[in-house]
Each structure stands twice: as structure tokens, then as C-alpha cells.
Amino acid sequence: MTRALPLVLLLSACGPAASGGGVDMQLFVQAGLLDVISGFQVALVKSGSTLDCVAAQKTCIKGQVDATRFVPVKDSKGAQKKALFFPINLVAGTPNTQDVSLDGLSPGKDFAVIVEAVSKDTPARLTGSSCNYVQQISVGQNAAVSAHIETFPTPVTCDVRIDP
């Protein structure tokens, strides 16, 4: 028995490699999105509960709410803006994701986060949109919002850019 053990071990090392027990995933960013979308415009709107998110996602938010409802946010240089634009930088995956954040927000309640995918063409069009209600923003780090953008079959022509 003890003499046969080294032989068994030697034979077991032969043959094709094992798959590891999991499913191989092919991670990629769709080439179509990179070609069409220049980036994402993120805005925080006051009195979110009064906003119809379903309707809001169908066209540009800029034309749907008064400019005073946009909560001032700070860009990377510390400047106050009504909305921030993040160039597309999707991480490969299913779905493709990109993490952004709004900083310098004053604490408050009843907001809505609007994320709009902006097309590359000129003038820019709305390629997709998401709307999420945010009940409260507190001092410090808040819980992450998952903004799921469904892209339109055909980009919507509207005035997208809130802060030119």
C-alpha cells in the first residue's frame, strides 16, 4: 500500500487542467456605449418626492424643473455647480459600472438624484437617464445610490447640459 501511493500521485498529475469549480466570466465594456456616450451628468434636485421619476427619465431634467431646485454641488476644483459632468469611465462588467460621487452637499431631506447619459454628438443629446429618490443627506459619507440607466434605442434631442 505504501509502495503504490507515489505511483497514484504521479499518475494524478497527468491530463487536462481543472476548471476551478466556477463559471468563467467575460468582462468587457460594450464598444457601442463608449462610441456613443461622452459621459454622465449628475444633478441633485430638491423636493424629490414631488418629482415623477418615471416621467423625468424620458427627457432632459433641465427642462422639467426650475433651475432653483438644483442643489449646489462642488466639482473637483471646489467650484459650486448645479450639476457635475463625469466623462465616461465605465468598468468592465455586467452591467458596466462607474462610481462617482457628489461632494459638499448640505444636509437635508427629500431629494432626487438624476443621472443622465450624454451623447458624444453635437449638440449633445440624452442617451439614457435614471432617477432615484434620496430621503435624506447627512453630514459625512452617505449610503451609495445605485443609478441604473436604461439607454434609449434612439437618443432624445433636448437641452441636456445644466451647467455648460
Binding site: 461632494d103 453630514v139 452617505n142 440607466i149
Partner: protein, 295 residues
């Protein structure tokens, strides 16, 4: 002249004794004293010899008040006059004047006796028989467990006379006493020290009664402040619960490091408050953008 006056007084007294009981009016209301009341009755009834005996025995009593002593000497002087003993009457009135230099006979006294009394008073002044005067510095609040010294200024102290401090805890019956001692450097300053064990420490403050009396060799009161019926008092403070800082130790508030620490603490607190007040309280909202589908 004097013998004539005495004869007149005696005749008047005898006449009154035969008609109506002789009545004298006491100078003022004084505490009851058996000898005094007995002597008063004897004088009223004209029994002057017995009155003299009663009064001479009564004067020897201890713890007589000033008023009682004055009244006894007054009656003694009066009785001696009625008996025709002017010199003894004079002696009694001199004692009275020693005990109460400003004493005046009551207005109800017979005019001739008042005249004689005025003459004796004038003679006393001329003979420079000066009364003993006592000035006492009142004892203030005393610390328990420590001796207390009473200070007195006594002038014209009679030969053989003594000054005593009588004391008792308020409410106690009997007085204890200690003698005043004349200071070596002075003829008029006297001190009496109440020992510490007479002032025990207690949780609550308490009071001590005291009075000072100057008496002659026969224990007759010559002067005094307060008496056993109307004593003076001083308070003995309660036991001190906090023993206080150790002698020689610097109080904490005089330590400069305490105030340096306090200053730094205040500065740090102020800075913190300013920072908190001026710091913009903002929040960060992370957003995970998810996108799929092909446009």
C-alpha cells in the same frame, strides 16, 4: 452739730415708730434675698439693732448682686443713723458709694437723711476715698478648645481686694471662678485666663455666662460687671469639621500651573468651538452608475 442732727433724726424715727410703722422705700426692685427682706422688715418695725445684725450677716453672703449690695448698705447706713452711730453710717454709705458711685437716695427718703447722705458723699470726695472702677473688655466669640483671656482695667483697687471672673456654661446652676492677675508692667491692667478645658469642642456652638466682680477682703462687692442673675455671655464656636489647608501649604489657586492649565484648556476649548462653528458640515453622496444595452 452732727450730734444734734443725729438726735433729731433719732427722735423723728422714734416718733414714727410709736405712731405708725416706720416705712422705707427701697431704691428699686431687686432680686429677692432673705436677709435683705428680713432687714427691711426690721427697719420698718424700728428694730434697728437687729436690722444691723441681719444686714452685716447678709453682706457677707457671696453672689450678691450690685443692687442687693447697694440696698443692704443703704439700709445699714439708715439703721446706724437711727441708732446714732454716724461714723458707722458713714462707713456703710462709703461702701455703698464704692459699689455704686453714682447712687442717689430715693426721693422718698426723709429730707434730713438725704441731707446727711449728701454731706457724707461730699466728705467721701474730700477724703479722696475713690471708688473702685472696673472697665471690662467684653469677651467675643471664642474658639472651642482654646483658652480665653478676659481683660479688665481696674482703678483704685482697694487694699486686699480681689477681682474674679465667674463663669458657667449657660443653663448650668453654679459658677466657677478664677482670679484676675495684675500685669507686672501695669497697675491697672488685669487678666484672667479661662483654661481651654473649660471650652470643650462640640458639634454645635454654645454659650458661656460670665461676670466679673471686685470684692474686698471681707468678700464684699466693690465693683462688678454683670452678676449671677444678669450675667454677660459669649459664644463658643462649634467644632471645625474642615481642618483646612496644611499650615504653610500654598492654596491651589495660588499655584501658577493651575492657571496655566486653565488657560490652555480655555484656549483649546475656544479653538474647538470656533473650528466646529466655522467648519462647513457637508455630506458626500456616492453614486454607482450602472448601464447596459446598446444604443
Amino acid at each position: 452739730m452732727a450730734s444734734g442732727l443725729l438726735a433729731l433724726i433719732a427722735a423723728t424715727a422714734l416718733a414714727q415708730a410709736t405712731d405708725v410703722p416706720l416705712r422705707t422705700v427701697t431704691a428699686q426692685v431687686v432680686p429677692r434675698n432673705e436677709a435683705l427682706e428680713k432687714a427691711q422688715g426690721q427697719v420698718d418695725s424700728g428694730d434697728f439693732e437687729e436690722a444691723v445684725k441681719t444686714l452685716e450677716a447678709g453682706i457677707e453672703q457671696s453672689e450678691l448682686t450690685d443692687d442687693q449690695l447697694v440696698e443692704m448698705y443703704r439700709l445699714l447706713g439708715l439703721a446706724q443713723l437711727y441708732l446714732g452711730n454716724e461714723e458707722r453710717a458713714r462707713d456703710a454709705y462709703e461702701k455703698l458709694l464704692q459699689a455704686r458711685p453714682d447712687y442717689e437716695l430715693p426721693r422718698s427718703a426723709p429730707p434730713k437723711i438725704r441731707t446727711l447722705y449728701a454731706r457724707i458723699k461730699d466728705d467721701v470726695k474730700k477724703r479722696r476715698v475713690r471708688p473702685v472702677t472696673l472697665t471690662l473688655t467684653p469677651i467675643g466669640e471664642a474658639k472651642a478648645g482654646l483658652a480665653v483671656t478676659a481683660e479688665a482695667h481696674i482703678e483704685d483697687m482697694a487694699l486686699g481686694a480681689k477681682a474674679r471672673l465667674f463663669f458657667r456654661r449657660s443653663g448650668a446652676q453654679a459658677f466657677g471662678s478664677i482670679d484676675f492677675v495684675r500685669e507686672k508692667s501695669s497697675r491697672t491692667e488685669y487678666r484672667a485666663t479661662l483654661p481651654a478645658f473649660e471650652l470643650p469642642e462640640e458639634d454645635a456652638s454654645w454659650e458661656m455666662d460670665y461676670y466679673v466682680e471686685v470684692t474686698d477682703a471681707a468678700q464684699r462687692r466693690l465693683a462688678g460687671k454683670g452678676d449671677s442673675y444678669n450675667p454677660l455671655t459669649f459664644r463658643v464656636a462649634a467644632r471645625t469639621k474642615d481642618t483646612g489647608p496644611v499650615a504653610g501649604a500654598t492654596p491651589w489657586y495660588q499655584n501658577p500651573w493651575v492657571w496655566v492649565g486653565v488657560g490652555l484648556g480655555v484656549a483649546a476649548a475656544t479653538t474647538g468651538v470656533v473650528l466646529i462653528a466655522t467648519q462647513t458640515q457637508t455630506g458626500t453622496l456616492p453614486i454607482k452608475i450602472q448601464i447596459d444595452g446598446t444604443p
